[in-house]
Symmetry: C2
Subunit: 362 residues, 2 copies
DNA sequence: TTGTAGGCGTTATCAA
DNA sequence: TTGATAACGCCTACAA
């Protein structure tokens, strides 16, 4: 007959927080061994008498004992956790990137914490401070970032502060070169991707190619725009450069494109900084009866879900978001050594939204 | 002239883990006060002499002191965290839902931990155990779940175990009724959404309406299919029921639909369990030159991004994922009281993929 | 208002 | 192999 289960003993004259559940000492007492032995059993590797081990396990089961991970962490033996700091939890880039990084962390028995900054600097700083309090193993700073010197200095400060509490800052998908000597970064070839896409248009005979972008002063914009400029130079067509700026949403791109067309814009092809903007551009074109690609070619960037199902299916640049997330996770948890910048390649996916330049417009 | 900064003192004969950074005692010593005073300064509310406070703050700054959140949590005064358990970090439902729940947690100064189960029961159990170790404040079990009794029992076990360490289990977007007496649940009206959509088709004159679904034995399938059945009954058309099953991806839906059509299927409209399946169905229809909605009407569910940009724009049911996430976060952190089931309404978005039944086929 | 002392739950060391 | 003891960094009741 099993003994009645005694509620966890509360130390006499206790003044600590209210206890919930049993602790290691409770188990030890019930099993008739010392706390150290119980610890050894649950830590795993240590040699402990099978007889004692069994007693401990039985007592633990009866008491519903669950190791306290917080206490373990305080001793430096707990699970680690990586934090993922992103502007918004949306867009094509987010899901795959996060999923891959999470996969690495979880597979390693660690945690994945998700935080959104909404692009606000104050919030970003607050989140980093909070994460420092919790002794985050690593912080992944993800996405487009301001390219000015002030922000670079800010990031160096983040890195310094995070390192001061034993953490690590990793820059993901941001500027081309790490802006912090001590912080590793994982990135993909924004510039090369756009360059290849624009060269594709040039090879089809286009010369008057419009670039539709957003967020001047941010890394994604600068890097991708640079690809456009380089491609034009490759074909000695730099004089034909023309650009349009919008806020980044499909709506804003549609609006900007409409204005461009109504203003007599003469481009025969459009390179969009993101698929989202390409969707807006396509809308605008459809509204005006301009056929794609017969009258105008359109290229996007990201290869987000469903763009292959648009009418016409969108030609776009695919970035290796899954691999990016995986590598970022690996670097964050010191499963892959890296101090510099890792840059992953991009790939042009040619579908049906691009075609030869219209003859009458050549 | 500032005194040289002394490295954190390591207790003589220390045997604990390697220390990193300064602790409360270091600050106290440098400021010439007791640890209790420092604690009071950083805890915030306590009354402490402005003079002493200043000294403490100065010492902390010099030492780069950062409160140890882990130690705080052990005392029951740390930040809390809610864990989000989902099968996959993809799909239309995920981003908005997670973003909203994260927003609630972060706004409250708490954390948001993300875990994917990949639909594996073992992994789910492991994750919950790990989360119990870390004393998660709440665990959000998100998405479609098996409808069998064994799984219900399993979830009851989860709830019991989580509660035993002071946590809380919240069921989000799953079965219609909470399957655990003690666990609150937050859901939306799957059944009503499909029922309204199918009634919309019936009102347009359709009778032979095909239902395309996935994952029999899971809650999302059962609940949505039930809406289809009810709508047919509403119009005394239950004899016209016909269903198709696929794995859930657009590809599988396209394949299933192709087989249906090639087999002489005579439906004039299709109700798809998800937008993803609708995309596949549309592909299949386009391949065969079947016009939508002239020859066939199609309805989806989820209103995922871009379905308004398909050709034709998709009629679909929108679920309030953002609100769902917000409420789930609120309930998880006890910011909203709820023990039963919260059910949010859905909305039919009529676009251009649905139209009157073709005359010759009536 | 401040300091002292004891406790939160764990693990490492050292002696038995 | 086991147990006593002392950390880890923090909070709080109580006394001063």
């Amino acid at each position: 007959m099993p003994e009645p289960i005694v509620p966890p003993t509360r130390a006499a004259g206790s003044r600590g927080p209210a206890r919930v559940g049993a602790n290691l000492r409770d188990v030890a007492q019930r099993a008739g061994v010392s706390p150290a032995t119980v610890s050894r059993v649950f830590a795993g590797n240590d040699r402990v008498n099978p007889h004692a081990r069994e007693a401990v396990l039985a007592a633990a089961a009866e008491l519903g004992y669950v190791v306290n991970g917080l206490a373990r962490s305080m001793m430096g033996h707990g699970r680690r956790f990586v934090a993922f700091l992103v502007q918004e939890m949306v867009g094509p880039t987010f899901a795959e990137l996060a999923a891959a990084a999470e996969g690495v962390a979880t597979a390693n028995g660690d945690f994945f914490v998700l935080c959104t900054t909404h692009g606000e600097a104050d919030r970003e700083r607050e989140l980093i401070d909070t994460l420092r309090e919790q002794r985050a193993t690593a912080i992944l700073l993800v996405g487009s970032m301001p390219t000015d010197a002030a922000y670079a200095e800010r990031v160096r400060e983040y890195a310094r502060d995070v390192e001061a509490v034993g953490g690590k800052l990793v820059i993901v998908g941001g500027p081309a070169q790490s802006i912090v000597p001590s912080a590793p970064s994982v990135n993909y070839d924004h510039t090369g991707g756009v360059r290849t896409a624009v060269r594709h248009l040039l090879e089809l005979g286009h010369r008057r190619i419009l670039y539709v972008g957003a967020q001047p002063g941010f890394s994604t914009h600068s890097l991708r725009l640079e690809g456009y400029v380089l491609a034009l130079k490759d074909y000695r067509a730099e004089d034909e450069a023309r650009t349009l700026t919008c806020s980044g949403s499909a709506e804003s791109a549609a609006h900007a494109m409409a204005e461009y067309l109504d203003g007599g814009g003469d481009a025969t092809a459009v390179m969009c900084e993101t698929d989202n903007m390409a969707v807006g551009v396509l809308r605008s074109l459809r509204d005006r009866g301009i056929r794609v690609p017969a009258d105008m070619s359109v290229v996007g960037f990201d290869d987000m879900p469903l763009v292959a199902d648009l009418e016409p299916p969108l030609t776009t640049v695919r970035a290796p978001f899954r691999e990016l997330g995986r590598r970022a996770g690996l670097v964050a948890l010191d499963l892959e050594e890296s101090t510099g910048t890792i840059t992953l390649p991009t790939e042009l996916i040619v579908r049906s939204s691009t075609g030869p330049v219209p003859v009458e417009k050549k």
